[in-house]
Amino acid sequence: MIHQYKSNGYNMVLDINSGAVHVVDDLVYDVLACMQEGTEGADDVCQKLQDRYQESEIKEALEECKDLKQQGMLFTEDIYEHAIDVFAERPTVVKALCLHIAHDCNLACKYCFAEEGEYHGRRALMSYEVGKKALDFLIANSGNRRNLEVDFFGGEPLMNWQVVKDLVIYGREQEKLHDKNFRFTLTTNGVLLNDEIMEFCNKEMGNVVLSLDGRKEVHDFMRPFRNGKGSYDLVVPKFQKFASSRNQDKYYVRGTFTHYNLDFAADVLHFADLGFKQISVEPVVAPPEADYAIREEDLPIIFEQYDILAKEMIKREKEGRGFNFFHFMIDLTGGPCVYKRLSGCGSGTEYLAVTPWGDFYPCHQFVGNEEFLLGNVEEGVKRPELTKEFKQCNVYAKKECKECFARFYCSGGCAANSFNFHHKINAVYEIGCKMQQKRIECALMIKAALAGNQETQA
């Protein structure tokens, strides 16, 4: 199975099962379409294409395609389904926690799935004791995994900063005793950010996610303080300073786009113009009835925006002022193994969210939904049947994924999205899938453009 498409003047071909990416001329593009339909004999292909190309050319192109097929770079078979079954039977280890260090927030963002930090529950801050037990649980349940990830999340984690610091110190002590390596990360809205916090984070946090939505009017509309005043002017200078102090690396300014700013390419470019080099702007996850939710009819506009952004990124990169856009990042040479690509995000199995009072949920998106309460820091994970259900959330569990060219890049999508839209965790969120497919097409095209393949442009 191959996926072929035209983008920005490039004829792109993705061999789905090997991951090989080819840029081809019009002739090969048409020959491959014949092969995809099952027409492979030289005479048959020539007959189909004789109106457009000379026979000798067609035969030459067909030979190139067959060569690559023989080398396992075109029309390769899917050999992974059995391997992933065996892989999924391995004992469960926990390797990542999302610590809800504060169920409270100093902003009142309109799209917040945490409902202004409260997660359908009460306002609360995680105590040092609960946090310590969470880290102990992680170490004890991590098997032979060495790299353990802990994200300080909220609400707004800086509202409980002392506990964040104390837990990092505790983690650093424990990692030596147990031969582990903690990778701490922090997600913040920036309101309480100051020099002391930046300095600590630069020393201890492997990544920081800085929440910023884009242009001032866009940001302030969705991310106001509780009194309605916008937060852009307060946080932008702090984020600029923070990004610069991290040498423009190991951070993301991260925004959410909604139905209200479908022209989000302008927001991404606004970040780039502010000097940020690591940028992520992502579609809102919202119930379909929300006024700001992304709708099916928004998709053509969104696709156009991704195209605009991709072209501008190529231009800026060639001018020496490029930047990274998280959703267009794709590692064609050192990317993850096929197990990682097929086995889903790990929510509910190797990745858990921990509430301020120590309850476990499959991930931050499920927090507050009692149906998904998995256990707690005192007793561990108590719902093996639910864990098993999450463990089986791989791409082969979903028929739509089995047929999708993007399956090795999204790993089957988000269980929380699926639950929000279909009330089960192993369905697909179609709008999200279509956006994901578009982003992968753009990402591969960018690779082609920057590989200097101008001669293959149509």
Binding site: S280, F326, D331
Partner: protein, 47 residues
């Protein structure tokens, strides 16, 4: 090749034998928190 330029030569199939160590980053811990994405993650091993 006259008609085809290949951008990468490393096959996913080669990762079946060596892969699966699980040391790489959990996708939702990266930047997203809402959109499952693994294509942009990096392998912890260089081979």
């Amino acid at each position: 090749m006259k008609h085809i330029t290949t951008l990468n030569t490393k096959s996913l199939q080669n990762t079946v034998k060596k892969g699966g160590c699980g040391e790489c980053q959990t996708s939702c811990q990266s930047a997203c928190k809402t959109s499952c994405t693994v294509g942009n993650q990096s392998c912890e091993h260089k081979n």
